[in-house]
């Protein structure tokens, strides 16, 4: 297994956290992993993205020109990252904040209105967990149980009240990711 994943969206959508969550889970499962954020001045109120490489082998390049997976949270990210996804790769799209559907036919595409769904669950900030669930439904990079465990650990005592909602968001994403696959 060797996957190169880009998470991209606006600052504040939990894009970097989604990537870190994957990285922590990969470490917990003793996989090799790297996480790199975009750290330019554009982060302040602008676009944010991170690249995560998960592999069974030691990782050379932590950067990727053609990721095998892109999870896009908004329209600028869809415009930027649809094209570079490797043929046969996976594109997870937040339908709520994108304009037109992706046009590639040589990659797997999952579209779900993640922000609207998060809103239904009570907080748009859970958009990232819904998209993360959909990603896992299609590419079981790490086990769901690991994600749940790490999520609870990372939310910590201070955000313990958000545990249940986040787990529900993750489950909703998984469910829809599977449904679209069928």
């Amino acid at each position: 297994m060797h996957e190169e994943i880009i998470f991209a969206g606006f600052g504040g959508q939990g894009v970097l956290f989604a990537g870190q969550l994957l990285a922590y889970c990969a470490l917990a499962e003793e996989k090799h992993v790297t996480w790199i954020p975009s750290y330019g001045p554009e982060m302040r109120g602008g676009t944010a993205n991170c690249t995560v490489v998960v592999s069974d082998e030691a990782i050379g390049s932590p950067v990727s020109q053609h990721p095998s997976i892109a999870v896009v949270f908004n329209n600028p990210s869809l415009e930027k990252y649809e094209e570079p996804v490797k043929p046969g790769g996976l594109l997870v799209v937040n339908e709520s904040l994108t304009v037109a559907p992706p046009t590639r036919t040589d990659i797997e595409i999952v579209r779900l209105p993640a922000t609207a769904l998060a809103s239904e669950l009570g907080d748009t900030r859970m958009t990232n967990m819904i998209l993360f669930g959909a990603l896992l439904a299609r590419r079981p990079l790490v086990q769901v149980a690991t994600v749940e465990e790490i999520l609870i650990e990372k939310l910590g005592a201070r955000k313990a009240h958000l545990q249940e909602a986040n787990l529900r968001a993750l489950a909703r994403g998984l469910e829809l990711g599977v449904a679209q696959h069928a």
């Binding site: 992993v33 996480w35 790199i36 001045p41 990727s64």
Partner: protein, 356 residues
């Protein structure tokens, strides 16, 4: 100790703490500020010194002062800040006091940008300041190696009473990767007998880089150069992969060396006999091993995130025996494995053609 997911900058800071750094002086600059932030939190907790200086010039002179007392002292900065510190580096080298400097390089020249770069290679490996000397320069390619080299940097600084750089770029500084920290070392005691510890009951020690008498300054230089010659002989460090039967060897350090590894593996899968040589000490440059490899390969391809700086050292080590070509990106652009792979194919095909 457990394997943790750690950001490069934080790992460097915590590794320095574990190595027993007693005093940190710095001034914030992206992309290394997390290092300073970690120090700001941890050093006071441990009863050690942390000072956010008013400038980089002040910071390096504080390091100089602390180092004169025999304390393990350090600073960190990024390219433009490193330029400001150059006078201090030279005084430290001239005074022969140990200290460690971290440079998380960014795109230049000038204010440039904050993206990853290796544009300070010349600056840190040639002399890092005015005068006639080299600093020891170590270049990690992963978070784990950053930790290991940070600890080693303090040992080398002490052993040679010299200036040691740990250089990386914004990518390694910002990257999170699983790594393991070493156990906490005790603060080193006693201080060196050369250190300024109070002259009660002994002859006074004088630490200075000033010597107005030319014959005496030449003698001082001779002693410094003999030390550097010893370092050059004994402290060359490098690692390599798939070089045994390689016809083309890619040479890269830090981030570019690591990205090149992916390209080299791809080339191997395509049946090309390509290897990777990754210098870990940039000064002393691992010329002995590279010269030996020059006897067995058809060509070297140097990959850097600059316009070709280590290229000079590879050419010198190759001694004109084989062609040395170059691929680089500048301005904060990071080369992708695919680009390096394409360049490998181009250079490898030249070798195959010329062999026919």
């Amino acid at each position: 100790m457990a394997v943790e997911l750690m950001k490069g900058n934080v790992a460097l800071a915590e590794a320095a703490i574990r190595a027993g750094v007693e005093a940190y002086f710095g001034y914030p600059i992206t992309p290394q500020t997390e290092l300073l932030e970690h120090m700001a939190k941890r050093m006071p907790e441990l009863g050690r010194a942390f000072v956010q200086a008013e400038s980089e010039v002040a910071a390096i002179n504080m390091v100089y002062g602390a180092a004169c007392t025999g304390a393990r002292a350090m600073t960190s900065s990024s390219s433009p800040g490193i330029s400001l510190m150059q006078e201090g580096f030279s005084y430290i080298a001239g005074s022969e006091v140990p200290c460690v400097v971290v440079d998380i390089m960014r795109g230049g020249p000038g204010l440039g940008n904050i993206q990853p770069s290796q544009s300070d290679y010349f600056q840190v490996t040639r002399s890092a300041g005015h005068g006639d000397y080299h600093a020891i320069v170590l270049a990690p390619a992963s978070v784990q190696e950053a930790i290991d080299l940070m600890v080693e940097a303090f040992d080398l600084a002490d052993e040679y009473r010299h200036l040691v750089f740990v250089v990386a770029d914004g990518l390694i500084g910002q990257m999170m990767e699983p790594a393991e920290l070493p156990a906490m070392k005790p603060i080193r005691r006693p201080r060196g007998d050369w250190a300024l510890t109070g002259a009660d009951g002994r002859e006074k020690n004088i630490i200075t880089s000033l010597e107005l008498n030319a014959p005496d300054l030449e003698e001082l230089n001779n002693r410094l150069q003999a030390k550097l010659a010893h370092i050059r002989e004994h402290e060359q460090r490098s690692t390599e992969m798939l070089t045994g039967d390689a016809r083309l060897i890619v040479v890269g350090y830090g981030t570019s060396g690591r990205i090149a590894e992916t390209a080299v593996k791809q080339a191997r899968r395509e049946g090309m006999k390509v290897g990777l040589f990754r210098p870990i000490s940039l000064w002393p440059f691992p010329e002995k091993r590279l010269s030996a490899l020059a006897d067995q390969v058809g060509a070297f391809l140097v990959v850097e995130m600059n316009a070709g700086q280590m290229l000079d050292d590879v050419r010198l080590a190759a001694g004109g025996q084989v062609p040395v070509t170059f691929y680089g990106r500048t301005g904060g652009m990071v080369p992708m494995p695919e680009e390096i792979y394409d360049e490998i194919v181009t250079q490898y095909n030249k070798l195959t053609t010329s062999a026919v």
